[in-house]
Amino acid sequence: MNEISLMPEEQYQRLQQRHAEDVRALWDLLDAIKDPEIPALSIWDLGILRDVQRNGDQVTVTITPTYSGCPAMDNITTDVIQLLHDNGYSDATVKLSLSPAWSSEWMSPEGRKKLREYGIAPPEDAGLDDDGLTPDAHAACPHCASRHTRRISEFGSTACKALFQCDDCGEPFDYFKKI
């Protein structure tokens, strides 16, 4: 099946935002901040990084949690402030934004690829069941690409993931929920 892949609207908006001339270097700099629970992915890749504003020496970085109780937010805040400080931005603040609520649509295409390589199935590797929730089978195994898999638990190692097992290669794996 050949399809021309279209960039989702959300991705396009995010890229536009990122290319704003005066803060471009800051966006690039922030690529160094990884999610402490999935160190293969930056906060840009995950879509947690929402906005960067600069007003003279003052920098405001806006982030949003994937889930209400995401314990990584505090770490990320500290890491962002430290990084900016080390690069000469001593007046930096991190703002936590709740609205709009984080969506797995915001994850970058590179992020999805890196996620799979890291051993976690990205959101698009499974369909949705009738309730709009994670289905109980057929998420693509990130190790052997088989669809012959089943859900072991709704909740995986973190709230944003579900746990699956592959019936072909036998490996258990995390699936990043589509929300």
Partner: protein, 254 residues
């Protein structure tokens, strides 16, 4: 925002935060006691969702109070009589069936209440609801599955699930009580008119209980008082454990 509305909103955010932190803590008591590993992890996840909500509600309450307190002061520095949570949330975890039946009652409640809160004219409350709705769908699917499995399971699991339903039923009426504060906010389009949710709650819960071969109890008794600080003795014990570290080492960070 008028002073009256502001004060009511602060009280409301505190109540919702109290419901979340108390239930979240109760769920977290299952961590390392789950019947099997995946279930243990699931409990930890759900607890975290609730504690995360509590943080958001408390942060907002603190912002409105504007008296130097922060989310931690709300969670750790108030005693049981100052807590305003619904009694259902504070009851001890009991056995696995008891916790899952309580969770089902709470999840159906949130599945109905949060979409209403999403419509709130208050942007922060609406934003918190938007996040929580997505999580609650998952919570409800899990508690529903468990209640079906336990109710329609072995003789032992059926009997335990029915006992839990009977013991918890009288605590569910309070979920749909409105007082002056909540009425004021409902009229202002900020808070949820929970009284209007009971029929739908009853219908949804009855369908699930019936499918689980469990009997829907008669409304023969009701306990109330959480919203005015009259709690069961369980809350004091729970808060003692939850607050001890913070109270022993004020301002401690790690």
């Amino acid at each position: 925002m008028s002073d009256q509305i502001k004060q009511a909103t602060q009280e409301y955010a505190t109540r919702l935060g109290d419901d979340s932190v108390v239930l979240g803590h109760r769920i977290s008591e299952w961590v390392s006691y789950g019947p099997f590993l995946e279930e243990d992890i699931a409990y930890g996840n759900v607890a975290l969702d609730y504690i995360g909500r509590a943080r958001m509600f408390y942060t907002y309450a603190a912002e409105l109070a504007d008296d130097g307190r922060d989310e931690d002061d709300f969670a750790y520095m108030r005693n049981d009589r100052e807590y305003r949570n619904l009694l259902l949330m504070e009851l001890p975890k009991g056995d696995f069936a008891y916790s899952q039946v309580r969770q089902l009652f709470a999840d159906v409640y949130y599945a109905l209440m949060l979409p209403e809160l999403l419509q709130s004219k208050d942007e922060t409350l609406s934003a918190i609801a938007a996040k929580a709705i997505k999580e609650t769908k998952y919570h409800l699917r899990r508690s529903r599955d468990w209640v079906l499995r336990l109710g329609d399971g072995t003789e032992e699991s059926h009997q335990r699930a029915q006992k839990a339903v009977d013991q918890l039923w009288g605590y569910t009426h309070e979920l749909f009580d409105m007082d002056e504060t909540e009425q004021l906010l409902a009229d202002a389009g900020i808070g949820v008119d929970v009284a209007g949710l009971r029929d739908r709650w009853l219908e949804m819960v009855s369908v699930i209980l019936t499918e689980a071969t469990l009997t829907v109890p008669e409304d023969s008794w009701a306990v109330r008082g959480g919203r005015i600080g009259n709690h069961t003795e369980n809350l004091g014990h729970m808060l003692t454990e939850m607050q001890i570290v913070h109270r022993s080492h004020p301002g401690c960070k790690w």
